[in-house]
Amino acid sequence: MVAQYFNEMYDSDKLRPPYRTLEGWYQKMPAEFRAIKQAEAEDLFRRYGITFAVYGEGGDPDRLIPFDMFPRVFTAEEWRRLERGIKQRARALNAFLSDVYDRGEIIRAGRIPADLVYRNEAYEIAVAGFRPPLGVFSHIVGIDLVRTGPDQFYVLEDNCRTPSGVSYMLENREVMMRMFPHLFQENRVAPVDGYARLLKRTLASVAPEKCERDPKVVLLTPGHYNSAYYEHSFLADLMGIELVEGQDLFVEGDFCWMRTTEGPQKVDVIYRRIDDAFLDPLCFRPDSTLGVPGLMNVYRSGGVTICSAPGAGVADDKAIYTFVPEMIRFYLGEAPILENVPTWQCAKADDLKYVQEHIAELVVKEVHGSGGYGMLVGPKADKATIEAFAAKLAANPSNYIAQPTLALSTCPTFVEEGIAPRHVDLRPYCLVGRDIELVQGGLTRVALTEGSLVVNSSQGGGVKDTWVIAEE
């Protein structure tokens, strides 16, 4: 069986309109020039300090994530539909979080099984009954999308905690504009550089009620050993806010304070890039040295806002994912604009049986996994790999879900011989505060190995600049 993949530039050999000017651009580019540009891009990324450490692989922690110069392009019309779908999803996910930490109406109504939510490791009893400012739990929702046809988009997963990668969206654009300024004169590409301003506005909009001044916002990082540390410092810099580690903050009385050379300064909003478990050793893991002792008490008495809210992870669990379309219908009374990928829950006997019988055709993932680890792509795996995975699945079925292997769309990508189609996905970053906002763009990840469907940067994927072309 030959899989048919939708090529975003050439639809059965016909050039699709958004790529119109790019055909001449790459065809006229001499090979030596391309090599020079590629080296220049690498140099720029090194200079900006943008690197991505890969978990568990050892090697060079300052390895560059490969950047492919060929942009990925959407029309304004395509984007409008995506935008409506993404915002709809972000609204529903937040409504779900507000609900399950309050009365749990969706569970009472029998639309989602209670155990899936309340027995979930990510459900934090510490915040049951607590309503964060404006009722927002997930302030930055990263939604991973794939495309299978001109009008077919699927949501692969939601990221409600601290989705990373937005610095690549910004840097990729910056580098492209420096290297190929004329492309941005020929094409009306929607800007993405407003992201930092929107993010700061979003964070400030959820300051506690007790805050009666211009809110003090800080970014809490686990430190420079974290693989996304570059992004933390980059975003703090762009927003003009302090980048802090747990030890820079302390709790006294009903507030959280930052140590400064001029004495303690009250902090109103913490954009945290550390996991719930490490936030506060007096509430969660007692051995955490990354968090701020006593922070959860201040948070729960309304002295500081934590973004994303502790407990937000219960909405992006892979087992909950199946129910997002149901959330959209239940809370918003709307039909879902973006589709879910059909998903088998291996915890269910019937689903497990199907998955075991069809394992060679499916993608099987760990329920709590991320980054492309602990995952089987059936059609791309050899027999031994499949057998080893099947044994793990049989030993602990409820740890896995399975999905059909999607025919991910491809986008032209520079390779040794010129250009070749490579599979891509898309992660836009939706901001939720007083308003719901989305810049026109996102992070396109590309599987650089021919035929590969795994786009994760931790698995050797690369990134591309993502364009939305404004209407004429």
Binding site: Y101, D102, G104, A114, D115, Y118, R119, E121, Y123, I125, A126, V127, A128, G129, F130, F250, V251, E252, G253, D254, P281, L282, C283, P286, P293, G294, M296, N297, V298, R300, S301
Partner: protein
């Protein structure tokens, strides 16, 4: 019954520390079983936060010391009017869905011996109600773990205690939670005080027990260590998944050094009429 409490906890550090932050779960919340007449928490040298009520209905308070310190002392004093509700927790305002307490932690993870104990206990009771099963499990845990002061420490897990075959109230509570989970019953750890009566009960005044959720009744306390359900001799401070999660004091010391802990708890009953 009117119970008075005087509870002092003193940490003395081998070398001065750079600061201390504690989250105190040391104020009884109102329920049909208990009503605070007066209560105070004093931590000399510390800034205290405003008490807050968490989702489980517990009252929490933060104590911070920023100065270098050689010791910290928490003194809790108060008077509570208690009522015997046969162990049933009624009138306690909380927001956590009971099913969230079907989740175990590393301290309540069952081992083979706990699984066998539950199987043996429940297979003898095929038609028992949830309440009967809970009572039977509590009795089985009492039997399996003879009360042995000093046999375990604060880090002992349910599985460790079961292997040792002895324990203190903390172990009885954690093993019972593991058992209840296996029986499909939500269960949690409760810390509080017990007015150790003169009937030969050897237990310390700082006490712990388990609560099991029974449909139709709500949360019901089971004190396997004393083979009973909590009555008006008990004061409930708070709950959690396990001993660590429900600890009355969770603290962190900056630049931590060896610490020496000294705890004294005095509980006494007053005659009702003396309060009039």
């Amino acid at each position: 019954m009117i119970l008075t409490v005087l509870h002092k906890t003193r940490y003395v550090f081998a070398a001065p520390v750079g600061g201390i932050v504690q989250s105190l779960r040391m104020t009884p919340a109102k329920s049909d079983s208990q009503r605070v007449l007066d209560w105070s928490i004093e931590v000399p040298g510390a800034v205290l936060g405003t008490p807050l009520r968490d989702g489980a209905g517990d009252i929490l308070q933060t104590a911070s010391v920023r100065a270098r310190s050689e010791q910290i002392e928490v003194t809790v004093r108060g008077t509570v009017e208690t009522t015997d509700t046969a162990g049933i927790l009624r009138g306690h305002r909380e927001r956590v869905p009971p099913r969230a307490y079907l989740r175990g932690t590393i301290r309540t993870e069952p081992n083979r011996a706990i699984i066998d104990l539950v199987d043996a206990t429940l297979s003898a009771l095929p038609d028992a109600t949830a309440l009967e099963r809970a009572h039977a499990l509590s009795a089985a845990v009492s039997e399996a773990l003879p009360y042995t002061p000093g046999s375990t420490d604060a880090h002992t897990t349910a599985a460790d205690a079961m292997t040792a075959g002895k324990g203190v109230c903390q172990d009885h509570a954690q093993v019972l939670i593991a058992c209840a989970h296996l029986a499909g019953l939500p269960a949690r750890y409760v810390s509080g005080y017990l007015n150790a009566t003169e009937d030969g009960s050897p237990h310390e005044a700082s006490h712990a027990w388990a609560e099991i959720f029974i449909d139709g009744l709500g949360w019901v306390g089971f004190d396997a260590a004393n083979k009973c359900c909590p009555n008006d001799q008990y004061i409930r401070l708070g709950s959690g998944f396990d001993a660590q999660d429900a600890a009355p004091i969770r603290g962190l010391v900056l630049g931590g050094s060896e610490e020496d802990l000294d705890v004294t708890v005095k509980i006494a009953a007053q005659e009702q009429r003396q309060q009039q």
